[in-house]
Amino acid sequence: MRRRILAACACVVALLVLGIAPASANCGLRTGSRVALYGSFGDPDVFVWESRFRLESYQTGSFDIDQSLLPHARLASPGTRALVLACVPRYVHPKYRSTLDDAVLIKLLGGKYRGQTGWVMASDLRVMLGRL
């Protein structure tokens, strides 16, 4: 029984390694990093999206599409702390930018939406150096 439990744990670890670790291999942020949210373009608030597909649609779509997507986002205040859970490198190509950006899955550690998870762009995150 104990052996089965160990095998199951090994499978979970293997899945995590195969599913997430390779995806974050080229990301600027490591899984488990502690970060703070801060909008990189003018407005420091940050949209936290339900899925990375909505994040992508928001960044690449027209303004009307963006408006229709708003019910699927939470608006986090600048400085909200979070934990990096996963990262998909070079996933988002914002409409008016020449470079690709990473999509990052975070868990909010503070603010109005504490405990909830969501997707943001890597450029909206600042790595925290000290303890949270």
């Binding site: 909008g39 373009f41 003018g42 407005d43 608030d45 949209f47 928001y58 303004f63 963006d66 408006q67 708003l70 019910p71 986002a73 608006l75 914002p94 409409k95 008016y96 930018r97 020449s98």
Partner: protein
Amino acid sequence: MFGPIALGIALAFAIQGSFQARAEIAATFDRETRIQQAQLTIEELLRLQIDQENSVRGYTITRDPFYAQEYQASAQQFEQKESTVRQALKDQGVDQALAGLDDYDRTQQSWRKNVAQPLLAHPDSVPADLEKRNKAYSDYENSIVDEMRGLVEQKSQQLIRDTLAQFNYTIIGRSAWLVLFALLAMLFNAFSSRARKQLDEERATTAILERAYISRVVPLPNCDVGSAYASADQALAVGGDLFDVYRLSESLALVLIADVSGKGVDAAVLTAFIKFTIRAIALRRREPGAILAEFNTAFAQTVDNPYLFVSMLVGVLDTEALVLRYASAGHDSAFVRRSSGVQQLAVTGPVLGVMEEPFGTQAVHLEPGDTIVLATDGLTEARDRRGKQLREKGAMELIERADPQPQRMCDELVARIRALGRNRMRDDLAIIAIRVREPEAPNA
């Protein structure tokens, strides 16, 4: 001459290139300044957009009309700046940025219509997702501005690259032209030096020949004789002017003046041939017309060059009877100065070396004090500073006013001709002046 001209052209080219480069630099700076102004104005647009958003937020929180006025002022300034940026982008040909500006303007209008104006009209009815909508607008507009920044910066960099390329092209082109001019100048200088050396050598040879064959004036009874010979300036080729006074007997003297066409060694050698041939003929014949006729035949048989011909006056002066018998082969620079004025001696035949014609002989009876003045065409064809020739009339006036003493007369005529051309002799000039005196009584 080409050297200074080439240098002048090269200098003019270099100066023109400097002015062109200066104009290009000025144009580049002007365009760069406009682009920088456009960049600054784009940043101002963004600031005005944020001012509008903050004004609306301030009004919804405080209801203070000041914020509403601030919003209106910012919106108005935004429109003005937007027009300025649009014009600048059009002028600089940044079409992609213009498309972004259109998008930016549409978004801004949408924000005013859907967010700002409803909030200003009903500040109590703030929609639940206002912050999100504001954030979405802000993100979108900031993205557009970021894109525009990049495009304008690209244009600026392209302008710098183009200007640098233009500079390089100009510098390389000018350098190539200057090198070409320098090579041409060097080539011409080498050619010119060689030609000048040849001319100097020829001139030296000719001068030696002239010194060898130039006549020395011999004293004649009852006569005072003067002569002068002036060479053309150094840069010009030496001609074939000749004079001779040669005693044929106790009372007779051969008087000769001739002008050989052409220049250089050939002409100088021909003068020697003329001098001694005429002397030899005159020793046998005393009739000037016959002397010319015989010489003409010898000349035609001796000289092959069809472009050489000679104008000549041969005279036999009887110093006792005071009579000059002469024949003139196309030589019209011959005069007699009398107390009544100066008289030109008529031509009696064509120039030598052209055709076989008989040459007439004329006799001129002289009075004591009369002066025979024989010259080459350096006298009558002398030009003043305006290029006008002296001609026979002017020569006769000069002779009439000149000193009566023959040698001084010759020197004075040469000096006047030199002064007429600003101390520059374009042609050789030979002059003989013979003044007759009262014949001395025969010794008892």
